[in-house]
């Protein structure tokens, strides 16, 4: 059974803190993604990675960075958390290849920045 796990379901942080969100997949997928989901805005892609140590900016990378040191793990970093980064964060993974991009999502991390 395919599985994408995220380190926390709920997280509360203070403005200015450095925040790490971890995602692990056990499907040997090449691609991994970080999205944020906000009411009325749908899913917005922050960053994705198609290989170890490779990363590509998505639609809203400002204020975020990522790290992929191992194939199964993709971390999202908020360098200095701000209140406008309060959101639901979803990690996903997929294979690499045309017609193979079906994404498998983790349970999400609801982050509140106060």
């Amino acid at each position: 059974d395919v599985k994408v796990t995220q380190s926390s379901r709920y997280l509360v942080k203070r403005t200015g803190e450095k925040v790490f969100l971890e995602c692990v997949q056990d499907m040997d997928h090449e691609n991994m993604f970080w999205y944020r989901q906000d009411p009325g805005l749908g899913l917005r892609l922050i960053y994705f990675s198609y290989d170890v140590k490779m990363k590509e900016k998505g639609d809203i990378p400002e204020g975020y960075s990522v790290s992929r040191e191992k194939k199964e793990r993709f971390s999202l970093i908020l360098e200095s958390a701000s209140t406008n980064q309060t959101s639901m964060y979803l990690c996903a993974s997929s294979l690499l290849g045309t017609g193979l991009y079906e994404q498998y999502f983790g349970p999400g991390t609801r982050l509140t920045v106060t």
Partner: protein, 111 residues
């Protein structure tokens, strides 16, 4: 820039009725995905459509793809309360690794 538009964004329907959700996209693609999200939960894959004319059915849901019209539909037959959820379509580009998601259609099925 690829645009993926779903309509309606909100849909309230009675149990037993039929309805269709539309997903239009602005560039050439013949690969489209549908997802379901229950409140407070993550997304789960419903359908993967990989060619023009593709049709997939699961229970009361049927998805189809018309690549010439750049349109996919998700048809709901004889709705039941358990179908209440948000439904997303997502388009795969020829040149990309990621999917481009629509904003989602929030469906509420009432007695």
């Amino acid at each position: 820039e690829l645009k993926v538009e779903q309509n309606p964004l909100f849909l309230s329907m009675q149990e037993g009725k039929n309805y269709t959700i539309y997903c239009n996209y602005s560039t050439t693609s013949d690969r489209l995905y549908w997802y379901r999200q229950d409140p407070g939960k993550s997304l789960e894959s419903l359908f993967v459509l990989l060619s023009n004319g593709a049709v997939k059915q699961e229970g009361r849901l049927m998805a189809s793809l018309d690549t010439k019209a750049r349109l996919s539909t998700l048809h709901i037959t004889a709705a039941v309360h358990d179908l209440s959820a948000t439904y997303f379509c997502a388009v795969e580009l020829d040149s990309g690794y990621a999917l481009n998601f629509g904003k989602g259609t929030s469906l509420l099925v009432t007695p």
